[in-house]
Symmetry: C2
Subunit: 189 residues, 2 copies
């Protein structure tokens, strides 16, 4: 076999393997000509990982008692459950939503309101300079540029338990990553 | 056309319509010979509707600050988004899960823990005497008998905004039901 033909075969095998593991093309990240991420409109039909209420990583606490709902595409979720790793081109969405206490027959605690504040998006993509990038979309925003590396990337680099993802807060995924040896929770000072 | 043949045709058309709208058979309710519901093992891969924290319908408040995550099968969700109504054989799951505040880099608010307490299940099924039934599964329980009508059925009958379901607490479904005129929130004394 000539070298060009061998290379073609290897590239084809590599591409097939990547396609098998990656999310469906409809759920993969799409960028504009200006390298902005297109809003992942379908995320509410993805797999739910977990939610939090008023979570804050600072001593000051959260400004709002927001619910945060996290989602990943079906294909990425199934690959994670099979291997404990995220496939390339996985999009992670955190939805920010208001909370209410008194409404209908509810008298205490919190339920989610129709007050949608936007989404925070993390992308694993080998085409990106650092492999991972972070974006914020306010309500109605259609595209978003990547955040500077200092704002989200570094915190995920330092504290995420699985690759760049906070699986320590996703209770059904945590034991899967532990089983596959991909879970590495780091001490926090 | 003879009457029996006409009846057969009508039954066939009826069955096709029901199948088109109903959840996939894998996600439809299954009962044992003793009329107990079989645990819907796949619900974490269904569509997430919303979550609450420490929600309580009584003045006393909740005993635990539990998260409650609600799910329906994909086919039922799509039918609801198309019509504002639930197809026959829809299963609704509320997952009860513990909450934590301090863990990893989180300092305030609440995130969901690996402490799984069980699921509460509502079924819409025309084969049931009242059309709807309610079941509770503790962690590890494989089948469950229907609750007496006084315990859940009556509250859903009196207070649910769409059919027997609390769509008033599902923020992305509420505007859909309002659009289709199937949303009827009742006053609470």
């Amino acid at each position: 076999m000539t070298r060009p033909r061998l290379l073609l075969v290897l590239l084809t095998i590599g591409a097939s393997a990547a396609i098998a593991a990656a999310p469906d093309s409809a759920d993969a990240p799409t960028y504009t000509a200006k390298h902005e991420l297109v809003y992942p409109a379908n995320y509410r039909e993805w797999i739910f990982m977990s939610s939090g209420l008023g979570m804050s990583y600072s001593d000051r606490g959260a400004d709002h008692q927001m619910f945060t709902n996290t989602f990943v595409p079906q294909a990425a979720y199934h690959e994670f459950m099979r291997t404990g790793k995220w496939p390339d081109k996985t999009i992670f969405v955190v939805e920010d939503r208001g909370s209410e206490t008194k409404g209908s027959i509810n008298k205490s605690g919190h339920f989610q309101s129709t007050d949608f504040m936007g989404i925070d998006v993390e992308v694993k993509d080998s085409r990106l300079p650092d492999g991972w990038a972070y974006f914020n979309f306010s309500s109605g925003q259609k595209t978003a540029g990547a955040n500077p590396k200092s704002s989200c990337f570094q915190c995920h680099e330092d504290h995420a338990a699985v690759e760049h993802t906070f699986v320590q807060f996703y209770p059904t995924l945590k034991p899967v990553a532990e089983k596959f040896g991909t879970y590495h929770e780091k001490p926090v000072k």
